[in-house]
């Protein structure tokens, strides 16, 4: 029976969620494997585990529960060890490293901030700040919407201006919040958002961080700012920038091409 691993924590963690429901249907009960000063939070790995929404949530819920009472190094979803012994083997082998990370992340949580433009607000910004776009839009409107080519030309200019505004606002947002955080991890770029940034925040200064987010919302009303946290420090388990999961995506891409 292979072993699903949720996270690594200190053996001295005051409240590990032993018996809580984990991944699988029915949920496999959470177990604790101890090795020296470390503990791994695990369950049996269900056969054919897939990245379904309920499994991802189960993973996140177990980690939230551990994180609520102490520091945890969260595993990326879907980590499966051949058996319990190989888990404790890894704990023993890399004890020093994990203890150092637990110490570095102690009393700290992750807040993830994602932001989008409110579309008509950003279009206003773009048109107000660009006479050429404004003139072209007006000309198109006068002629009942404009020809296909006119529309493409206008749209192309607007898209470029919106893109520039996205970079500008993304950088401004990142900068506005970094002062209230211990560390920053910038997530992968995507057109789903103009900023995707995780901040490592000391629990005791969380109020300040939240206030900084509110300030950004007030200062940049043309942004929709989504804040999630406190979370286990997913983006800060390794020192330095989190490695992207690019290899797997590339493989899939090639397969499809």
């Amino acid at each position: 029976m292979s072993t699903y691993v949720y996270g690594i924590t200190a053996a001295s963690h005051p409240s590990l969620p032993e018996g809580m429901g984990g991944v699988g249907d029915p949920s496999r009960p959470v177990r604790i494997l101890r090795e020296g000063d470390l503990a791994a939070v695990v369950s049996d790995a269900p056969e054919g585990l897939r990245p379904k929404r309920r499994e991802l949530l189960a993973h996140q819920n177990v980690l939230s529960e551990i994180g609520a009472a102490g520091c945890v190094l969260p595993m990326r979803f879907g980590s499966v060890a051949p058996d319990d012994d190989s888990v404790t083997g890894v704990l023993a082998e890399r004890a020093e490293h994990y203890l150092e990370r637990l110490h570095a992340l102690d009393d700290r949580v992750e807040y993830n901030v994602k932001a989008n433009h409110v579309e008509d607000a950003v279009l206003h910004h773009v048109m107000a700040g660009n006479p050429e776009i404004r003139a072209l839009a007006e000309a198109n409107r006068q002629s009942g919407g404009g020809s296909y080519e006119d529309k493409i030309r206008l749209g192309e200019m607007v898209a470029a201006a919106v893109k520039a505004k996205e970079s500008e606002d993304g950088a401004a947002l990142e900068h506005a919040l970094e002062g209230a955080a211990d560390a920053v991890s910038v997530g992968p770029e995507s057109t789903g958002w103009l900023a995707n940034v995780s901040y490592l925040v000391k629990r005791e200064t969380a109020e300040e961080f939240l206030a900084a987010v509110e300030q950004v919302r007030a200062d940049m009303p043309h942004l929709e700012v989504r804040l999630n946290g406190p979370l286990p420090p997913y983006s800060f388990v390794e020192p330095g920038p989190a490695e992207p999961a690019g290899t797997a995506a590339g493989g899939t891409d090639a397969e499809m091409g």
């Binding site: 990245p51 996140q60 595993m75 083997g89 107000a128």
Partner: protein, 144 residues
Amino acid sequence: MTVVPAQQTGGGGGSSGLYDVLELVLDRGLVIDAFVRVSLVGIEILKIDVRVVVASVDTYLRFAEACNRLDLEAGPRKSPGLPEIVGEVTESGARGKSKGALSGAADTISDAFKQAREGGSERETESRPRTRKSTAARRKEEQE
């Protein structure tokens, strides 16, 4: 973690907040090379789909339409007016293609999750490959 509610999403719907967290669960966190990872094929596709290329004719046309509709005199709205506009465009235009990047991504995600929930039943997957292929193709073009 007792001071602050577990989730503070400002303005956004519950599902987008959920996706925002799941993205972290899937993409970040500790990786130990001695362990294997369950196959995430469906999810990798989801990630590719999220990266819809912004510079497309569809986007240009959508922006042009939105600009025509925009009343400059009214001033920027402070409250998010996005759903309204996206909704209109989605309904009037060809579904799927002319959708905003945002709502397109959201749909893709919910589709993928729905697909995953239903254990990859053929009925659900049948409608997907074309989108995947075109997105992959576009991505390829982008890389070249």
